[in-house]
Symmetry: C2
């Protein structure tokens, strides 16, 4: 069992396209952190997590508590993460951050980041791939969905960086984006990030996508920016067109009321985000599909438990994504490869990334899917030069928390931050 010698947490930033969502617009820089867990034998396990100040503080504290423990001791990682969340809670209060993270959420985030590094170290120490540690590979390829966004052509202040995708603010432009994305990555399912414009626009976009790509499963996620009344009115327009409808409204009760009235399966990554939410979610029949996320659910082990619960209760399973790089993508792929039950194609922002912190650069999709990377653990290694460059990007930033709402006001001064639902 490889003992943990030290853990380094490196905040990084990488360029991000101006993708629109209900909560605002993706900032020009996405922030993440890379976790390097150095264990006995010169082996380094890799993890990737959020880059906000709170997570970084928590990871530093948890990391110190784990020195000398076995990398395989996932229960110890959970405990250290819980202790770290408790320890930094008062600090957060003193600093008066505007983005307090609930303790229960924070401890799961910390464990989520560290556990991946620990499992990678475990795998590299024993020659096992992560999917082997998780019970063995059951599918050759893990399918991902095209993640379609309304978006601007470039960020304010980055006028020279118009990318290959260009502006997409109309249904026609999103159809074009989808076509590009399918051609480039081979995706066989699509998800539209909705809730940006009036719902009629989303419906029009979905209709246009259905027409342009018949037979390709389609999802839409307005991120709770619809009211219950609006959602009820939209259901007949969406019926038969969606694989599932993600988080139309906020809260388990409202979601359950919609699900009770609708034949469209609902999904969520917003109102069911921890194992402890399952009892209420299941008893209220809130959704038919849950979007897992090992970063926020407490790690790979908790995600595998969630997957087993989904099989046991007959709930569908997909995976949620924030902007992320290849370490997280590799972890998601191993998880997807080892889940014995059925899965929906996973969400990923990865199709929007232009560079990666791992050796070899961006991982390439094949027919919209990924095989498990070769080699033990996650099967990926850090490009140290790129890590340094991305760490420098982060050091030059003037923000410590992602804030899509403030960014949005630069583009649409009349946009009402914090008003939800807008439609």
């Amino acid at each position: 069992m490889p003992r943990i010698e030290h853990i380094t947490i490196t905040p990084i930033a990488f360029r991000e396209p101006p993708l629109l969502a209900a909560s605002g617009i993706h900032q020009p820089w996405a922030i993440r952190c890379i976790i390097e867990m150095h264990v006995e034998g010169g082996i380094v396990g890799l993890g990737e997590s959020y880059g906000d100040r709170t997570t970084l503080m928590g990871l530093e504290v948890a990391a110190k508590r784990l020195i000398g423990h076995d990398a395989t001791n996932l229960n110890r990682i959970a405990r250290a993460s819980s202790e770290a969340a408790t320890e930094i809670d008062p600090l957060l209060a003193i600093r008066g951050t505007s983005m307090p993270t609930p303790h229960a959420e924070l401890e799961l985030r910390l464990a989520g980041g560290i556990e991946v590094a620990a499992l990678d170290a475990w795998g590299k120490s024993t020659g096992m791939r992560l999917c082997d540690i998780l019970g063995g590979q059951v599918r050759e390829k893990v399918p991902y969905a095209a993640y379609l966004f309304y978006r601007f052509g470039h960020h304010i202040g980055f006028e020279n960086e118009e990318d290959e995708w260009g502006e997409a603010l109309t249904p026609e432009a999103v159809v074009e984006q989808a076509g590009q994305m399918i051609e480039k990555f081979g995706f066989q399912s699509m998800k539209l990030k909705g809730g940006v414009f009036a719902p009629e626009v989303d419906v029009e976009t979905l209709n246009a996508l259905s027409e342009a790509f018949p037979g390709i499963p389609l999802r839409v996620d307005p991120n709770t920016n619809w009211s219950e009344e609006t959602t009820e009115a939209l259901i007949p327009l969406l019926l038969g067109k969606l694989e599932y409808l993600e988080d139309p409204v906020a809260g388990m009760d409202a979601m359950a009321r919609i699900q009770a009235k609708s034949d469209i399966p609902l999904s969520t990554n917003m109102c069911v985000t921890r194992l402890e939410h399952l009892p209420e979610a299941i008893s209220k029949n809130v959704v038919k599909v849950i979007l897992a996320d090992h970063h926020s659910w407490g790690g790979v082990s908790k995600t595998m438990h969630l997957a087993q619960c989904c099989t046991t209760w007959g709930i569908g399973l997909s995976m949620h994504s924030n902007s992320h790089l290849g370490i997280s993508l590799a972890a998601m792929t191993h998880i997807g490869a080892a889940i014995p039950g059925p899965i929906y194609s996973f969400d990923t922002h990865y199709c929007w990334e232009k560079e990666d912190v791992i050796e070899g650069g961006l991982i390439e999709f094949e027919d919209g899917s990924l095989g498990v990377p070769e080699g033990p653990g996650l099967g990926v290694a850090i490009d140290q030069d790129m890590l340094k460059r991305m760490a420098k990007n982060y050091a030059n930033l003037e923000f410590e928390y992602r804030d899509d709402a403030s960014e949005m006001l630069k583009y649409w001064p009349d946009w009402q931050a914090g008003v939800m639902p807008k439609f």
Copy 2:
């Protein structure tokens, strides 16, 4: 990853005391099987499972299907077990066995046996203890409960083998048995196997135990031999005296009706015996405590999922036991040591055993608890001489299925086999 070269399944038999339960009396011989999984590197992983003909047939078929696969591939073991259950189903029908095992139950039994051997091989190949593989040790000692039985002094035909415990057919004698057991093993909780005599006798025994051992948590298990009416009438007499009441009545609905009316927590190992039973059990609030059993729940991995579900839903967890030897006891101890949530002391018949198939003989309890055996994997090794002796015992038997009911008729010819509930 250690590849499976071959797996041997050795049925064994060992002497068993004449313990009484609702279903009859333990036969003079308990039958089990020992699984030896030979993997690359000359390592042998050990498992222990049921010894009935159906399980043996299934294990042989599953074992063949696993040759060449990685011992760590628990998903493959589950699949091979399912396939084996399907393959032998028709054979069972042809042979007209009187003890058909449902497919869903059989495949979990097969996986339950093989998975322990696979995890032991995994551990021995990597230097990890089973509890390390399961997420890490969270408690030094795993508590077990004294398992009190009404019993005869000796089996018919074994008059010379009266053991140290002697006959216990009265409340007073059971109190004496409990005293002996606590003195010998240090147990700090007790379970009475009830349902043998009229419930008034059980109540009298429980009262006598409470009086003799104040403060020691007490459980009773009539194995569904009480009617709902009887149980309702007994509840006021048991209130405040029991840690929990195990399987008073048959079926989830009847259990739920009792639980709804009673402040005594109910537990079960009879109506909730698979992960797929959890949705109904939870929605109907059937029990407050579930007794896991890795042998029948599909293995260690499924047991760990169950434990997580119990934590998530706020259900108590203990562990059920059939007659078993040290390999199973070691597995139970590793599982108990690695479950992050709270556990009730585990059941075990082990206190009744006189010899073991593992090197060093019987494992010794300390204060009613067990620490995790030292060494990788399960931390136990086979005593090959004893294995041969116990295999010879089995070869000399004239039965292939445990049949406590027929045995009972030798003692009490008027006993009504198959009539349940009797009270």
